[in-house]
């Protein structure tokens, strides 16, 4: 350990980057597979645009289907990164170091895809821009009272925020890559990203301030985003939707699914990049505890929601409630309860259950469960309108399924590309971490050892000069 603490920074960088560069067959296969799925995605969407939205399974009265479900689902996923890593940064959790970058990447890409679904969902996507407030020859604004317009605002903000939040900590690493890359297009690319980073004290100073400000600022944004998404439903008068609990309920659900993704990502990173020293069992243990807590909170909200409905005795609410609990949707409903509440509690309550593999598996289950939750929010409420005459049902078409699966591919594709181009683990933060580990101080005030970092890491640029 101590020996490592003395090794020059560049070696550490080299070692880590080396691990990142190592071409893994799995990665290659993954890229191929995801690429194929991207094609599926594009084909299905193109087919839908060419033939009309009718190629989906939605109908009257179920006007919203898989697209909206996936929209909510992906936005939920996006909370894996920015929000959590922000919390971790603010709380200066040491083990965040290897995780943050990938988490933030997940956020950005999940958001991009989530934000795409409402467009896919449109009947006339060719004029989607009517929703954007811009001066036009029709002299019309969009309707700012519509939750959908709020969505646009919120998600755009969140995307920009997350992009910055991903980008800032990336600058020093981009610089490192720039310096390692041979002259040419690649170097120029990294050069642009690095924004002329030289690693001076001032730069470190402002970088960290930037990160810190963003970290604090992004948390309310993240919370607001999913609240507003929930308002797409809660602001209506549709039985099963209009509910004051939806805001917090959605945020909790989002964080819940976010952690699930994080769990999986961490388990993979730990194996893939042999980061046992950072992602220790203790980390998993803590995160597992957080996970099971969220599971319980989610369970509490679910219970509260259905109890109030059942207790109210409101006729139409109870119709929806009925099809959920013992009607056509009983199976998915109880499945959701099992994978979201029963299993996590059962597994994560025991220390042995909070080890990487089980937590990751539970995470997968929770992802399914949370998808089901969104399904159970959207479809039953719509298929049970007030006038019993119009009761309907819903079966997705192959186009919807294709786009849903394809979206996963698009995500994977983006993610793989990212890992190919840039270090998926924040090199400089790792280096910092090593230093802390070496000097035995667990996560001391970073403003103090930023200079040290700079001192012991002579700007490579200088070496080149």
């Amino acid at each position: 350990m101590t020996s490592e603490a003395q090794r020059p920074a560049r070696e550490l960088d080299g070692e880590l980057l080396g691990r990142l560069d190592r071409r893994r067959p799995g990665l290659f296969v993954g890229s191929l597979a995801s690429g194929a799925l991207v094609l599926v995605f594009l084909y299905c969407w193109g087919y839908q645009i060419a033939n009309g939205i009718g190629v989906t399974g939605i109908n009257r009265p179920v006007f919203w289907g898989f697209y909206i479900i996936n929209f909510v689902f992906w936005i939920g996923i996006s909370h894996a990164g920015t929000l959590i890593s922000a919390i971790l940064r603010v709380t200066k959790a040491e083990w965040r170091r290897p995780v943050t970058r990938s988490a933030e990447a997940i956020t950005l890409f999940a958001l991009a895809i989530g934000g795409l679904f409402p467009l896919i969902h449109l009947g006339r996507v060719t004029i989607f821009y009517y929703m954007i407030p811009y001066p036009n020859s029709r002299m019309l604004w969009p309707n700012f009272r519509s939750p959908l317009v709020w969505d646009i605002a919120a998600i755009t903000t969140y995307i920009i925020g997350s992009a910055l939040y991903l980008f800032l900590p990336l600058i020093p690493d981009a610089a490192v890559m720039r310096d390692r890359a041979a002259a040419g297009l690649k170097k120029r690319f990294y050069a642009v990203l690095a924004l002329g980073w030289r690693g001076t004290a001032q730069q470190w100073h402002s970088l960290e301030w930037g990160i810190r400000i963003l970290a604090v600022a992004i948390i309310p944004v993240a919370v607001s985003v999913h609240t507003i998404v929930s308002w797409d439903f809660a602001m209506t008068q549709t039985p099963g939707w209009k509910s004051t609990i939806f805001g917090p309920y959605f945020v909790v659900g989002a964080i819940f699914s976010g952690i699930a993704v994080l769990m999986i990502a961490m388990a993979l990173l730990r194996r893939g990049l042999a980061l046992e020293r950072f992602l220790t069992d203790r980390v998993f243990n803590n995160l597992g505890l957080l996970f099971v807590t969220m599971s319980l909170v989610w369970g509490y909200f679910t219970f509260a929601e259905h109890l109030t409905v059942w207790y109210s005795g409101d006729l139409f609410e109870k119709n929806v409630h009925h099809v959920l609990l013992h009607g056509d949707f009983a199976v998915p409903f109880w499945t959701m309860v099992v994978v979201n509440l029963v299993i996590p509690v059962a597994v994560l309550s025991f220390p042995r259950g909070r080890r990487p593999l089980p937590t990751a598996l539970v995470g997968c289950g929770v992802l399914v469960g949370m998808w089901l939750e969104r399904f159970l929010i959207v479809v039953p409420a719509l298929s049970t309108p007030r006038l019993a005459y119009s009761i309907g049902d819903y079966m997705p078409s192959w186009v919807e399924l294709g786009i849903m699966v394809g979206a996963v591919g698009v995500f994977a594709c983006l993610y793989f590309t990212f890992t190919q181009l840039l270090p998926i683990v924040s090199v400089w933060e790792m280096r910092e971490g090593w230093r802390h580990a070496g000097s035995g101080e667990a996560g001391g005030a970073e403003s103090d050892d930023a200079p040290t970092a700079v001192a012991t890491a002579p700007a490579p640029g200088g070496g080149a000069a």
């Binding site: 036009n136 020859s137 029709r138 002299m139 050069a191 642009v192 924004l195 002329g196 980073w197 030289r198 001076t200 001032q202 730069q203 100073h205 402002s206």
Partner: protein, 180 residues
């Protein structure tokens, strides 16, 4: 001071892309400026009809476009009507010949619309309502009297223009007034 600390002299951010970006931006803005109202095409007509000549001959617009004041559509004169006059007036003129021929074969003449509101706009324009309000033909159609072949002078599909005019004249600016 702050600036210097952020960007020490040896470290300048690359601004190589600023130029092109600015260029695209300006281009975009100019395009916006000359939005949809510019360069309206003058369509090919099957017969080289000359408005100016007919007006100078003392014909009123409504003589041929009967619906312009009373009807919803201005409409086009029947081939029969054209032939009616031209049996006396320059019947041998090559263009007139086309009309006479169409009249003999009892087939309609298909003109190309000059002032087009695309179907996609789903606008139901009502001529007589505007005539009632005392809107001159030339407000929308330009001074056809001085045109040989009728050509568009305004983009009648420019909603903003309609709305402004409606506002100035305190006509209804309810969407349903036109869109149905």
């Amino acid at each position: 001071m702050v600036r210097r600390r952020l960007y020490p002299p040896e470290a300048r951010p690359d601004c190589r892309f600023a130029g092109p970006l600015a260029g695209i931006w300006i281009l975009a803005l100019t395009l916006v400026a000359c939005g949809p109202t510019q360069n309206l095409p003058t369509p090919e007509q099957p017969i080289a009809y000359d408005h100016q000549v007919h007006i100078e001959a003392g014909l009123e617009c409504v003589r041929c476009h009967r619906g312009a004041e009373e009807g919803v559509h201005a409409g086009m004169p029947s081939v029969q009507a054209c032939a009616g006059c031209h049996r006396r007036e320059i019947p041998d003129h090559p263009e007139v010949q086309k009309v006479m021929l169409a009249n003999e074969n009892r087939e309609p003449i298909l003109w190309a619309k000059v002032n087009v509101i695309p179907d996609s706009a789903m606008v139901h324009f009502n001529h007589r309502a505007h005539a009632r309000a005392g809107i001159e033909c030339l407000t929308c159609h330009g001074d056809v009297a001085s045109m040989t072949v009728a050509e568009p002078v305004r983009n009648v599909a420019d909603m903003g223009w309609c709305v402004e005019c409606h506002r100035e004249n305190e006509a209804s600016d309810d969407c349903l007034a036109c869109h149905r």
